[in-house]
């Protein structure tokens, strides 16, 4: 019995094509049942996320035959399914297109503008299929986040675990897939602890949070001031709140927006003209106004810094043209980052992850080889499937 994988991902297909094959969580047990009943798979797991739809199957058939049957299954389903929509759990993905914060991410070569009419690239062409040991390698790479849009992202591991659990709970996995998936989770954990692949973040909002954590002993109790109505500023404030920052004060020319956001984040809104009065109490200031000239300069900030008695002040100037005079950075205990600086940090993290990928691939290769050897040696023992027919088949086949 060998493990194969077929599917499509953001590497091969635009979202317009992918969504036709997406599985809603409620539909997966049914689909797995069809797969296993048809005999093509003894054990199966279906993984369906915004960026990939994959079927992992332990099959007794020859890989070529299994591929054909699985592709057929997927294509037929794709033809039947209506638009699934990017529903469950897709919001978390840092879709580069939507995020104005990371314009330089090189990974953004996915053909987003696919549209329903994707001439020349039919569904057949975008489905990939892998047999052992490549299927194992693929699974490990996916679990470690190496196959993701942003290398090293961690959400995919959670999704993979959920997909596996769903299949296992409904008894669609057996010894083979159990062992392989457990090993995949183990490798992902190993990679997380022993490499830097998952360190740092590549969106401006999370970079801002990381910066704050480098400066302040603890984010708890830190007060945040958001000046201006920019989108990115709001994202940064949200990110800070989610990491434990204290109260948020919003100052925006559009009063409704300020109050709305303050309500959402559990803070308060102040009239735009009074934002400077808040400076003394604030530890983190995010500004993204559309003012054509700096709203904060050294002369204005210097006395405030004096009164703060040495508490650090993190200023994030997300606006273009800049809201804060660069001279401000030369004041004691002030840390000024503009949008370029934050982007440089994000790029640095991305570069770090790329460098780490080589190490991760090495770890993955070692694990794949070990598993492959184990399977070869284990022979019949590995073929202990769930149904009797498998037991008979494996008794006959030399694994």
């Amino acid at each position: 019995m060998s493990v194969v994988v077929i599917g499509l991902s953001h590497h091969t297909a635009p979202v317009a094509l992918r969504e036709r094959f997406a599985f809603a969580e409620a539909d997966i047990p049914g689909a797995l049942k069809v797969l296993c009943d048809s005999g093509v798979a003894a054990e199966a797991v279906i993984l369906s996320t915004c960026n990939r739809v994959e079927i992992y199957a332990a099959t007794t058939q020859e890989p070529a035959a299994a591929f054909a049957a699985l592709k057929d299954f997927l294509l037929r389903r794709g033809a039947e399914t209506q638009r699934a929509g990017a529903g469950d759990g897709c919001q978390w993905q840092p879709q580069p297109k939507a995020a104005p914060d990371s314009p330089r991410l090189e990974d953004r070569q996915q053909p987003e503008s696919g549209g329903a009419t994707a001439p020349g690239k039919g569904p057949e062409a975008v489905i990939y299929a892998r047999a052992e040991p490549e299927s194992l390698r693929h699974l490990f790479r996916v679990a470690c986040g190496l196959d993701s849009l942003v290398p090293g992202e961690t959400e995919i591991l959670g999704q993979l675990k959920e997909a596996y659990e769903l299949a296992r709970k409904n008894h669609f996995t057996g010894a083979r897939l159990n062992r392989i998936f457990q090993r995949a989770f183990h490798v992902a954990k190993h990679v997380r602890t022993h490499t830097n692949i998952q360190r740092g973040s590549v969106s401006v909002a999370s970079v801002a949070v990381e910066l704050a954590e480098r400066i302040f002993s603890s984010l708890a109790g830190r007060e945040v001031l958001v000046v201006g109505a920019g989108d990115t500023g709001e994202k940064v404030a949200r990110a800070l709140r989610s990491r434990g920052a204290g109260r948020v004060v919003i100052a925006s020319r559009t009063r409704e927006r300020a109050e709305g956001l303050a309500g959402e984040l559990g803070g308060r809104a102040v009239p735009f003209d009074h934002w400077a009065e808040e400076l003394e109490r604030m530890d983190i200031v995010i500004s993204s106004t559309s003012a054509p000239h700096p709203i904060l300069d050294r002369a204005r900030l210097a006395p405030v810094v004096e009164r703060r008695r040495g508490r650090p002040l993190l200023l994030m100037d997300l606006a273009v043209p800049r809201d804060m005079d660069p001279e401000v950075n030369f004041l004691e205990n002030v840390y000024l980052y503009n949008i370029d600086d934050l982007q440089t940090v994000a790029d640095g993290y991305l570069k770090l992850r790329r460098e780490e990928m080589a190490r991760c691939e090495k770890i993955i290769s070692e694990n794949v080889e070990a598993l492959f050897r184990q399977n070869a040696l284990a022979g019949l023992a590995a073929g202990r499937g769930l149904n009797l027919s498998n037991l008979r088949k494996s008794a006959q086949t030399a694994d």
Binding site: N196, E210, E213, R214, I215, S217, E306, Y335, G348, L352
Partner: protein, 274 residues
């Protein structure tokens, strides 16, 4: 291993601190990104040998080993390593060892100079053993705390500079947050100051050889001066908000002054070097 004297053990410890220094450069080049246990275990090994050296010396003279410059310096470095090991139990503070290693190695090499390890000549003054040990031990612990405070201050200055000027390595490194480094530096200096005060107070009550006035002794004057310097540093921070960089520079400067003048004044002092 009875043929290995305590100085041999100390030498081995210093060699290990040297290895730790080399490794720390390697960590620095990688930007303190890898959370490495190697350096911690190196320091632990050095500490073990160092402790053996001190215990051996202590037993051989039947006193707390703080009686000459060699012993005193060995004691200071021992306390610095001990504090590094304790702080290093916290993952986020582990890199303090990497910064302390060069100081340990340099001071350790200095301590190994033969002239420093002289047996006290002539009839020893009749010191009450416990009080002398208390005096010497607390003062040396104080120096150790000042030293480590200076190390933390250097880390603070480096990280603060890197963060201010948007250096990537500041964000990628695993060093503690800048604010915490400042807090650690202040606490260490404060702890050192308290120990220093206790030690000096104990020293006032030690019996003196005849004809030696307390305030005439260079070391006493020097110590008083040092005490005032640290008092001023801590007070300035508290009362005049001289925080951040100014305090850090002060802590480093005071400790450098201490290092440079310690041995000189000790040699000149009749109370300490009869």
């Amino acid at each position: 291993m009875t043929w290995l004297t305590d100085r041999h053990f100390f030498l081995l410890a210093v060699v290990i601190y040297g290895l730790s220094t080399v490794y720390s450069v390697f960590l620095w080049r990688r930007g303190f990104r890898r959370d490495d246990h190697v350096n911690y275990f190196l320091l632990l090994a050095g500490f073990g040998l160092h402790t053996v050296a001190m215990v051996q010396r202590g037993f051989s003279i039947a006193h707390c080993p703080v009686n000459n410059l060699y012993e005193a310096t060995a004691f200071i470095t021992w306390t610095i390593v001990a504090v590094c090991l304790v702080l290093g139990l916290f993952r986020r503070l582990r890199f303090i060892g990497a910064f302390a290693a060069p100081v340990l190695f340099a001071v350790g090499v200095f301590a190994l100079m033969p002239e420093l390890d002289r047996q006290p000549r002539g009839p020893g003054p009749e010191f009450s053993g416990a009080l002398t040990s208390l005096h010497a031990a607390t003062i040396l612990l104080a120096y150790g705390a000042f030293g480590l405070g200076a190390v933390a201050a250097v880390m603070f200055l480096v990280e603060q500079h890197d963060l201010k000027f948007h250096k990537l390595r500041a964000v990628l490194s695993l060093l503690p947050p800048v604010q915490r480094l400042e807090t650690i530096a202040v606490r260490l200096v404060f702890a050192g100051f308290v120990l220093f005060t206790v030690g000096l107070e104990a020293g006032r009550y030690l019996p003196r050889p005849a004809g030696v006035a307390y305030w005439d002794d260079p070391k006493v004057v020097w110590s008083a001066f040092l005490w005032l310097v640290y008092l001023a540093l801590l007070a300035a921070r508290q009362m005049f908000a001289q925080r951040g960089r100014r305090f850090a520079y002060g802590a480093v400067g005071a400790f450098v002054f201490l290092l440079l003048t310690f041995w000189g004044t000790n040699l000149l002092s009749r109370l300490h070097h009869p």
